[in-house]
Symmetry: C2
Subunit: 243 residues, 2 copies
């Protein structure tokens, strides 16, 4: 499993992904699930992935190779004119990789599927956020659905639904995401720290603040421990049921 | 889907179940998923069910018939000497019903499976809580795992994990459960109000406070609305991340 969230704010985009991959509970590893492509002053594009690791790594490698090769540069993430075109390239690459494995007639215990979150901004357009399905189609975040989750989405969803505000600061959004990730890692062993993050400033057209939050990070610890107390206090504030 | 929680407290047991059943999003109904058998002064036993409605209703009907028929009264919920024996009877009945459908060679889109929560007290023994699997085996709640959830368990779990205390009052436990149910109904349309509840007082050996909480109940409304505000305040209390 995996847990990634991409969030659209008025001031930009926030991305966070866990790093645990597993092939059974007795075979876990740490892999980065966030990739960033940028041309400072022109674009910054962030991709997060959930699903079959071989598939998602192949997608990222293909996108990477194509953006570096000058011959093939035409349909590459670093050359497309809009985020919509970027989403189409990523979606096509994803479908192509899944098809190439599935069509060999190979069968695996887990499917070759993967789901992606893509977000960023290209000069001349707004910042946009997409959820890309294994079938190669995609949807875009809008006011009604301002964030996307992939992987183990359920445990961490209620707090996002309740506390998300489109005019949040990055600082508050990071806090909210860490609470959501903390709830998820507490309930599902296949989601685990450290968490990679990227806060993209609208119209900056370059990679913003990025980093990796370890489980023993003092700030994460204070959020994790403080949240339990804060929740209990919040519950105390509500009137008790009268039997 | 369904959402039911059975919770073991020092002062007794709290049960809550939703009432929505569905065969597709375009075919939803309201059914009671909580059954209570009692002999005042001797025992009170509560059963909640998640899964195939035909299966769970058959299980309840069989248990009911057997506890009323004097001939067959020997292995009935109203005659067994302990909660462990009660759990065995319920588990055997569940397995029997599932097998009787599955063995006819019929296939259905959904399986015939069901999962049950059974709790209560029989004179001479402590109050106990069990989770019964479709295979007919079961586990018992203990200090480390003081509550069981069945059905759509994920959305409502983080708050239970954080705020449960074994010495809670029934009033506080009901509030906690309503918050957990509210988070779940907000995220999954196949879980819905009204919610049935039963608070069993330890050593009372009779049915305690029971009732049905509608979605427009003023107390539920105040919890549902107040919880959003309380959560945001709780989040505000935590230190912001510094970028």
């Amino acid at each position: 499993m995996t847990y990634c969230v991409g969030m659209m704010l008025e001031r930009g985009l926030v991305f966070m992904s866990d790093t645990r991959t597993n092939a059974g509970l007795d075979n876990i590893s740490t892999f980065r699930k966030m990739s960033i492509w940028e041309t400072p002053g022109d674009r910054s594009i962030t991709l997060m992935s959930a699903g079959n690791l071989a598939t998602t790594q192949a997608v990222v490698s293909l996108l990477d190779e194509r953006s570096k090769s000058h011959d093939e540069r035409a349909p590459s993430l670093l050359a497309v004119p809009s985020m919509f075109q970027a989403a189409r390239i990523v979606a096509d690459t994803l479908r192509e990789v899944i098809a190439s494995h599935a069509n060999t007639g190979q069968r695996a215990d887990s499917s070759f599927n993967a789901t992606l979150i893509l977000g960023g901004q290209i000069k001349g357009g707004p910042h946009r956020l997409f959820l890309i399905y294994p079938e190669g189609n995609f949807i875009e975040a809008a006011k009604d659905t301002p964030f996307f989750q992939i992987g183990e989405t359920k445990y961490g969803r209620p707090i996002l639904v309740r506390a998300y505000e489109s005019d949040m600061s990055f600082e508050a959004a990071m806090k909210l995401l860490l609470v959501s990730f903390d709830s998820t890692t507490k309930a599902n062993l296949t989601v685990g720290a450290p968490f990679d993050f990227h806060c993209y400033d609208k119209d900056s057209l370059k990679t913003g603040q990025t980093g990796r939050m370890a489980s023993d990070d003092p700030y994460f610890q204070s959020v994790s421990q403080g949240w339990g107390d804060a929740l209990r206090e919040a519950l105390d504030m509500l009137p008790d049921f009268s039997l």
